[in-house]
Symmetry: C2
Subunit: 182 residues, 2 copies
Amino acid sequence: MHETRPGTARERLLAAALDLFAEHGVSGTSLQMIADRLGVTKAAVYHQFPTKDEIVLAVIDPALQRLGPIAERAEAQRGHTARQDAVLAGVVDLVVEFRRLSSTLSFDPVVVRLVRTHHALRSLQRIRRMLGGTAPDPGSRVRIAALSGGLMMAGADPAVAGLDDEDFRDHLLAAARRILRG
Amino acid sequence: MHETRPGTARERLLAAALDLFAEHGVSGTSLQMIADRLGVTKAAVYHQFPTKDEIVLAVIDPALQRLGPIAERAEAQRGHTARQDAVLAGVVDLVVEFRRLSSTLSFDPVVVRLVRTHHALRSLQRIRRMLGGTAPDPGSRVRIAALSGGLMMAGADPAVAGLDDEDFRDHLLAAARRILRG
């Protein structure tokens, strides 16, 4: 199936890749499939991105780049609660903006492997620490694990597909606060 | 890499498949990879499971079969709160028992496709309805979407990997109640 979408060749390639990742997972998507979807040769895809890992990184990079500023802005707040509020607001905004991406790729084994060696991992760890995800008590750990999963996956749910971004953001932030604060 | 684990040939095959699904996603795992992991021929795998879909279904079936009884037990309760409590207890038990499975496969595109036509989908819909996931207000919808994601993915979090099942269950149930009730 050929697609003609607006944007540069690179943007069209990344959009087609994300569609295919959502349908088949990253491991189930080949450079050839991406080429076929775009109606170009595999060589043309290869010319822009010699490996699939580079495509995945290009798809997730804009979201990962946001983690550092979120961590910094939160760390600049005084007091535990203000820091948590800043983290939650930043992460919820990020999830809403990259709604489709987060639910499609967050738990893909290939993405998990790539993020593990990405410099943004440090920001992610700072964010988790501020939320209490590294606290010694099991209650905090489970709460943050459930919060992470809830934030990442909420956008994938067909029941929220029809909500506009503002509604989705407000209610997701409320749900996130509820998990953290009780 | 060959593995020798206890259990029948079928159980060993399914365990090896789940390992590979966790590493590569379902789409990134071939019958040949499963055969190699077990140190058998592809024909031997094919003899038990002619398609990968059948392997995936065999892996997820024990968990899916539990959804019907969870829905029935909850529907037998009187009152909204008692029904929600029964649903949460049942689903949290299920998540704890199939801890690894839920986090590995719940959002895999292949699994999502297979569940969509599985008879257990009806039980899942009954369960979501009891939790309020089909309510018209956006707040309930987002809450249930976050709850589902949180329940499914919490077990995948490295920060909870060391917790025993009882601790994990208790704190996950508490977090789930918090999302629902505020």
